[in-house]
Amino acid sequence: MADTITRPDLDPADGARGAAPAERVPTVIADRVDIVYRVNGTGAGRGSATAALNRILRRKKSEKAAGVRRVHAVRNVSFTAYRGEAIGLIGTNGSGKSTLLKAVAGLLPVENGHIYTDGQPSLLGVNAALMNDLTGERNVHLGGLAMGMTREQVRARYQEIVDFSGINEKGDFITLPMRTYSSGMAARLRFSIAAAKDHDVLLIDEALATGDRSFQKRSEDRIRELRKQAGTVFLVSHNNKSIRDTCERVLWLERGELRLDGPTEDVMKEYEKFTNGKK
């Protein structure tokens, strides 16, 4: 966490955001949000057993001495998202995009600050709920239920999900265990399950990069559809094109800090300058 690179802090969003009409309805408000991960067992090098003992005995007193590393993943980020907006989150790897998204979803607690949301934002993704040893069919049910759909909703959407995934285009694969799928097929099924539910605030983490070209096109269409139904969409992606295609506003995170917040084209230009300049 060395702050070696000094950079002029830009604050260009004034013009863009100031012009916004005041009566827009906010759906997500982040107010000076800090997120800190604590990692056990990184130890103070040698003697990690004593460090561990220390950690147990003096939990509150000094985390540093006890070998707990604090990773400050998101620093003092504030923004307000409004209904009907599609917001891209960009930044180099490890800049805190996914972490921020999880905090908005209420899945990671914030260290300082507050995140206010309209209803329950949901992350697009059910990977963790699925089991490789089960058939695709059972995974569709399990994933749907895990996302909070009712049994009837899952049953009603089942055929739609399978058709969308295209798993059965090459034969009856949906009744095979998921571990037998190719990685592309598995990714398609996962996306199809995840995208089956309608959300108020939808958070998408690099979901567009899965599958072959024709499936990517289908997913993008589906995202656009979801966006119409959802109040607000957040999209994390390293694909500048899909950000440009889907979002009209972009937040640029770098080292956990919000560097830029503004209309897509303005921010993307700065971002591309930054990433190209790095080489």
């Binding site: 991960y37 507050h114 206010y116 040893d133």
Partner: protein, 307 residues
């Protein structure tokens, strides 16, 4: 915004109207704090709404367990049978613990199966949150679904064991009786007890994953005192044991549930071998652990998933 150590973050105008703080803006539009803990009644309702997920998750875990084995789901029954055979070999044949206990094999196997239910529920509960961090960090659901679901998986496993047990009982000449039906309330109470303890351990294990290393030792000690391999009643008979130790042994929840199931299934296991007010004790343990564990788990609901 008073940090000076880090590079000063760009200050953002968060709302068009500079006079309104984010909190006020949020209040005006009725936005809630993300990831806040729901109230207890709300939590119960959320959990109930997820009941299908809980059962589907449990069944999925159970079937996934043997999906790669050639014998497949047959292992669900073979596994407990082998387990019982090992205990019989050691305690019945080699050590001869059977002295004084009629129908020792049914007695022992019942004890092992019923104890395994509690043991594996608690073990699974300890890892329920810490082992499912991916799920906790990706999806929204009342976290109590996890320990409850894991216990349900163990209950399903137990039902398979009960099939094996019925076979063993019949082989050893224990007659089928109406009292067999008593295992339904007994196991229901035990399930409630297990789920409660599992929820307590899930919270502890989420905060301190090291507990999972410690639990096997605790559980083994518990097993040897719970009368799985011996009859507490016989051991205590005619000995000068301090009354507190007697109470501790007799009202040990694991021992209570094991003996209730034995009483239900084995005709030579008499009601006189059960401690006084045994059903009330079983119910008391179930309510104490079930409700207490649930509230204890709920109190930390918003913290699960932190790294």
């Amino acid at each position: 915004m008073s940090q000076v150590l880090d590079t000063p973050p760009p200050t953002k105008p968060t709302a068009p109207a500079a006079t309104e703080s984010p909190a006020e803006l949020a209040a005006r539009y009725g936005l809630g704090v993300s990831g806040a803990r729901p109230s207890l009644p709300q939590y119960v309702r959320q959990l109930w709404a997820r009941r299908h997920f809980i059962t589907a998750f449990a069944t999925a875990k159970l079937t996934a367990q043997y999906s790669q084995a050639k014998l497949g789901q047959l292992w669900q029954v073979v596994n407990p049978l082998l387990n019982a055979a090992v205990y019989y070999l050691i305690f019945g044949v080699l050590m001869g613990t059977s002295r004084g206990v009629p129908d020792y094999v049914p007695f022992l196997v019942t004890g092992v199966f019923v104890w395994t239910f509690t043991q594996s529920s608690i073990m699974a509960g300890t890892r329920a949150v810490s082992g499912s961090l991916g799920l906790v960090r990706a999806l929204h659901f009342p976290r109590a679904s996890l320990p409850v679901s894991y216990c349900l998986q163990q209950l399903q496993q137990l039902l398979f064991s009960m099939v094996a047990l019925a076979v063993i009982l019949l082989c050893f000449g224990v007659p089928v009786a109406a009292s067999w039906l008593l295992i339904v309330p007994a196991l229901a109470l035990q399930f409630m007890f297990n789920a409660g303890v599992a929820m307590v351990m899930a919270r502890v294990g989420a905060k301190t994953p090291d507990i999972a290393q410690l639990m096997p030792f605790v559980l083994r000690t518990w097993m040897y005192t719970a009368g799985v391999m011996f009859s507490i009643d016989h051991v205590l008979a005619g000995r000068d044991v301090p009354s507190w130790a007697r109470l501790l042994l007799e009202y040990n929840p694991a021992a209570v549930y094991i003996d209730l199931v034995r009483f239900a299934l084995i005709d030579s296991f008499q009601g006189s071998q059960l401690p006084d007010h045994v059903w009330a004790v079983a119910l008391g343990w179930a309510l104490l652990a079930g409700i207490g564990g649930f509230i204890y788990f709920w109190k930390a609901e918003e913290t699960y998933g932190r790294g």
